[in-house]
Amino acid sequence: MSRSSRHRVLPGFRLSLGFSWFSLGLIVLIPLTSLFLRTFSLSWEEFWGTVTTPRALAAYRLSFGASLAAALANVVFGLLVAWVLVRYRFPGRDVLESLVDLPFALPTAVAGLTLTTLFSAKGWYGQHLEALGIKVAYTSVGVAIALTFIGLPFVVRTVQPVLEEIDVDVEEAAATLGASPWQTFRRVLLPALFPALLSGFTLAFARALGEYGSVVFISGNMPLRTEIVPLLIITRLEQYDYAGATAIAIVMLGSSFSLLLAVNLLHRWSQRRLEARPGA
């Protein structure tokens, strides 16, 4: 909402903005600054040495790779779930609707334990997958599955309202003009949904990067193979190496922030393009 907007229920712009900066500063900026300060006890060489050990590099690869895979999977599944929830009325819909939010509410450690039980060699899923030669628990596949679990609600909940806004008429109009279902999806629905999908993707991705609780159980925590970055940070803390822990945290923070910024810019650009479309 811009400064010039007419209806302002909340008190004036200056007060609101001032308070926004103040509260964000207090609960986001100051903690993050103190994080940076803690690494100042390290020299540049020590910092660089800490954040580029082979174990750290392997952990970045796993954390970013598995988070990316999970967020992409969530875009597909999340879109599908949102579609079913918006476009159909069926028995059990309310249950499905609440089920979507469950990963938000569940302590992630419980999710991790449960998933590990299911996917371990003796678990309900694991025993069948194992028979096919697929190992999930204690591999990077397991990590990606845990991250998909915790990220799903983000895509569903960002896509759903947008999908509700799109009239079925638009799809019918496309159909009467001779568009195939695939064409309708690709040319009519997807462009309109793209910004929401991108937001959902970003949120799921960001959430996955920071996830710890559910992953430590299913990953097996093997150095160089299935260690995620947050575990590495905890490992440093266990050695009372606060500076080393924050050094890795800062690399993580820096890269996620740049990534999120990039996706937000992309989001803005696609939104503008969407609004500029004739007839949109």
Partner: protein, 336 residues
């Protein structure tokens, strides 16, 4: 899975509280995972004795979790009256990082402030199908071993040092050959849980691994009380003398005015009654009379001291667990 196990795996700890509306005293004991049952019994017994001798009600709150994590909470301000942790290194950090205890804390109570001891033993599946008898069997190609990550778990550091110590002794003191043993051992470890309880879950509930390295008390808890028919304890010929230490947190008891009770509480651990309770929970008592009474619970085995295995905790930490130490070298990227 029982809820208690779930909660303990999640590392949950009960919150502290010292408010006393009725003149009752509250102590907070910050401990590590495997002592939960032990302190439930000890606390009740001590509260009764304190009420008898001082006419005052005392309630002792317990907090359990990974030993290092617990120590960090205290360093960062959790108002523990006493700490009862897995390794002396964690208590040393209370001094080094926050001056909560004096440097000589370990000399204040008998037996280097460790009222009971333990050791590291093997748990195998019923009938011992892989015929695991001693450390040599753990590096066989057909055996998988479950042990938590020594970088994130105090208990795992005892496991690790037990394996290292016996290897060092067998290999004639050659560190290079002991390291070769450790490399083979950890090649057989398919999962590194972050804590001892997590490793127990992996072995017992998920059915992973042929042998679990565990604290003796946890091993007997698992085989005698929880899963009687499914597991067996195997005593290796040699292991380590694990000495989990206890300490009053001076800074906190002086601020809260609980020093007398906190000191009495730790002294109680050394009393015949306290030793008896420790023995019942499969912690090896220091008292010889109590130990003699419970001899059947504690099969004999040679226990190497930390000094024989790695000097002291500071050296153990630097040699094995710090960055670039032996544990890191075990996992150094290999050509294969």
């Amino acid at each position: 899975m029982p809820l208690a196990l779930l909660l303990s795996v999640a590392g949950c700890s009960r919150a502290s509280g010292e408010a006393s509306s009725d003149g009752a005293l509250t102590l907070l004991n910050v401990s590590y995972d495997p002592t939960r049952g032990l302190y439930e019994d000890l606390n009740a017994a001590f509260a009764k004795r304190w009420a008898d001798t001082h006419g005052q009600r005392v309630s002792i709150q317990q907090s359990h979790g990974g030993s290092g994590k617990q120590a960090r909470s205290v360093i960062e301000g959790l108002r523990a009256d006493v700490v009862t942790l897995a390794l002396a290194y964690d208590v040393d950090m209370l001094h080094e990082k926050a001056r909560l205890v004096p440097a000589d804390w370990q000399a204040r109570l008998p037996h280097d402030s460790a009222p009971y001891t333990s050791t590291i033993v093997f748990v195998v599946r019923q009938g011992n199908p892989k015929a695991i008898r001693d450390w040599d069997d753990l590096v066989r190609e057909d055996v998988t071993v479950i042990t938590p990550n020594p970088k994130t778990s105090g208990g795992a550091r005892w496991n690790y040092l037990a394996a290292w110590g016996q290897a060092l002794r067998r290999e004639g003191g050659s560190e290079a050959r002991a390291q070769a043993y450790m490399e083979k051992l950890f090649r057989n470890v398919p999962v590194l849980d972050s804590g001892a309880r997590g490793a127990t879950t992996t072995f017992a509930e998920r059915g992973l691994g042929d042998v679990l390295l565990a604290w003796e008390n946890e091993a007997f808890l698992l085989t005698r009380e929880v899963e009687e028919a499914r597991f067996e304890v195997v005593m290796p010929s040699v292991s380590i003398l694990a000495e989990p230490p206890v300490a009053v947190v001076d800074h906190n008891v002086d601020r809260k005015g609980t020093r007398a009770a906190a000191e009495a509480y730790l002294a109680y651990l050394y009393s015949e009654e306290g030793q008896e309770i420790a023995a019942r929970h499969h912690f090896r008592p220091r008292s010889e009379t109590v130990a003699a009474k419970h001899a059947a619970r504690f099969p004999a085995l040679k226990r190497l001291t930390l000094a024989e295995v790695a000097g002291d905790w500071r050296r153990a930490q630097a040699t094995h667990f710090a960055d670039g130490g032996v544990f890191d070298r075990i996992y150094a990227p290999r050509a294969d």
